[in-house]
Symmetry: C2
Subunit: 353 residues, 2 copies
């Protein structure tokens, strides 16, 4: 029986509450579909930072490299600046392991009401492929004349042919496996130099895939279309920042940020990939047992897909849909009054039947 060694980093706040339900469902999936997990637990978090002065040990990346995959809850705690918690853990992992794809399904689950009045006949079901390693998220930039009236701050977006090409190739392959439609987020009507470059690469690659239907949308218009006509999308490819914005917006149109998952993928499997919910550590509701575990469970299902168990991954998503449609066991963010544990139990029950 194949055994997958998974690094588990619950992190802070509700991250620690939503992780056990996800592990429980993964175990159940393993029993049914014939594989097992070996969990490696890491307590890296803001609490760890308070104790040690770092979000993870100096050899943290090496420790993770021993694992097949990483399951992350959420990091962040009031008082610890985001640039510490994120740039001390999340971003280094994304980069060290060349997790250059951030894949986020925008899929309206059965039983969930979209905030949009008109849901397209075919439902809402598309994928956003976000470039996850470069672009607007560069470390390059700084300040001049700090504190003076003349102060200037600069941030450099850096796009490489290497980085853009590999992200687009991933998106193209995905679109070819789905309905063959690829929408690209751009902003080449301004003077933003990097976006015409992005478009050029897309057009070059597009010529090698004549059957693919490729459309380019300015990011402003694209955001509007997520609301006005979400049915038109199959796969959307976007730069790091544009993808960040579009995926939160996408999570909104499928009803709740508490549900949406995110996979930080190293598609070649050379390094571990990392699976996390889109939501954060939510310190305001932490410790009250009312965190929605569905985002973490959905992230776990994406891990199963990536591990080569797509039937098991689909079974987890089906189970979520079943509980949402057939029961009223849901957490407050979805209008219910169930606890995290009650949702976990309902999921385990539904999975068993």
């Amino acid at each position: 029986m194949p055994t997958h060694r998974v690094a588990v980093i619950p992190g802070d706040g509700i991250g620690t509450e939503v992780m056990p339900p996800a592990q429980r469902l993964l175990e159940l999936a393993g029993h049914r579909f014939g594989f097992a997990f070996e969990w490696q637990n890491f307590d890296w978090s803001c609490e760890y930072y308070a104790r040690t002065g770092a979000m993870m040990p100096a050899d943290g990346i090496e420790q993770l490299a021993e694992c097949d995959q990483i399951l992350l809850g959420a990091v962040g705690f009031p008082g610890v600046p985001d640039h510490v918690s994120l740039w001390g853990l999340l971003i280094p992992i994304r980069r060290a392991f060349q997790q250059y794809i951030n894949l986020r399904p925008i899929k309206l689950l059965p039983g969930i009401e979209s905030p949009l009045r008109k849901v397209p006949a075919g439902g809402i079901d598309f994928q956003v492929v976000r470039e996850n390693n470069e672009g607007e998220y560069s470390e390059s930039g700084g300040r001049l004349y700090r504190g003076l009236p003349q102060e200037v701050a600069i941030q450099e977006s850096i796009f490489t042919r290497f980085g853009v090409t590999r992200a687009m190739n991933y998106a193209i392959n995905l679109a070819e496996k789905r309905e063959g439609r690829l929408a690209s987020a751009t902003k080449s009507n301004g003077i933003i130099h990097t976006m015409p470059f992005w478009d050029e690469i897309l057009r070059e690659l597009g010529q090698e895939h004549p059957l693919l239907e490729i459309s380019e949308y300015h990011i402003d218009a694209l955001a509007a279309l997520f609301v006005l006509d979400p049915g038109r999308f199959d796969v959307v490819v976007a730069s790091n920042l544009f993808g960040d914005i579009l995926t939160d917006l996408g999570a909104a149109i499928i009803g709740s940020i508490g549900i949406a998952p995110s996979a930080n993928l190293n598609p070649e499997g050379e390094f571990p990939s990392m699976f996390e919910p889109v939501h954060g550590s939510a310190p305001d509701i932490a410790g009250q047992g009312k965190a929605n575990p569905l985002g973490q469970v959905w992230a776990a299902s994406m891990m199963l897909d990536h591990l080569g168990h797509p039937e098991a991954g689909a079974a987890l998503v089906d189970t979520m849909g079943h509980v949402l449609l057939e029961t009223d066991v849901r957490t407050p963010d979805l209008g219910g009054c169930a606890t995290t544990e009650e949702v976990s139990d309902a999921l385990a029950d539904a999975f068993a039947t």
Copy 2:
């Protein structure tokens, strides 16, 4: 009787179709409220570009400087690259005249159905203040190793204390005249150097306005909240790019990009300001008489506000609301079958009564 000298640049496509209704309503408003217009017509457009090789003459800015205000339709035509049409006309005007505020009302008009299922009890009614002269829209950047596998493209975002402060002060004043709530779009949880700078300036200015309720939102979460909870906003302040994205998204939640207006303001009145609809030249529907003139009329009403005729400006918006609520005279983008001219007639009738 005060006479306002207004530069009229209909531009391309539907820009030329929606301008006459706006001028007609402005004339009517002048009659009722006691002021007059002297129109200066400029045929600057992509067609002008095809004839002359430039979007406007070399002394175009000087010619516009003789006018009090500028009313712009839309520019852009297939075959003329956006960086020509926009950077040859729209952007130079915004910059030469220090139109450092782009003000966009996000207001659901009576009779318009929002694509959102739950419209807040108080309706949707907030203003987005977009910094319009600097930030992500800089001319700085370029390419290395063009065409080679090693190619790199760089774009610099440049934020100045001068530019950020004046935009925020405008937003603060506006919020103080409204409900006293200011939301700021940021992205300081990443490594983007310019956004902590943006936040710092906001916090400094905020201390001088202790009664103002100031909130900071990450741009991704903010975009989601436009959909999940638009009722919470009063005034939103955002950088050039973030404001660009948020305002198209805002136009979507109030039902149609065909309605939304945009004011490029030089608040001090040292230079002319420019008023335009958010929509573009829409070559696909141009020449068919079915363009929605409401965006241009709403832009005209913002010009009246800026000219110091707020009652006249409000009368124009009321007239639009009246036609939308009491008649079914609306263009196809709003689900009707009226022509531009029929909407224009209905507006003129409604204004007269």
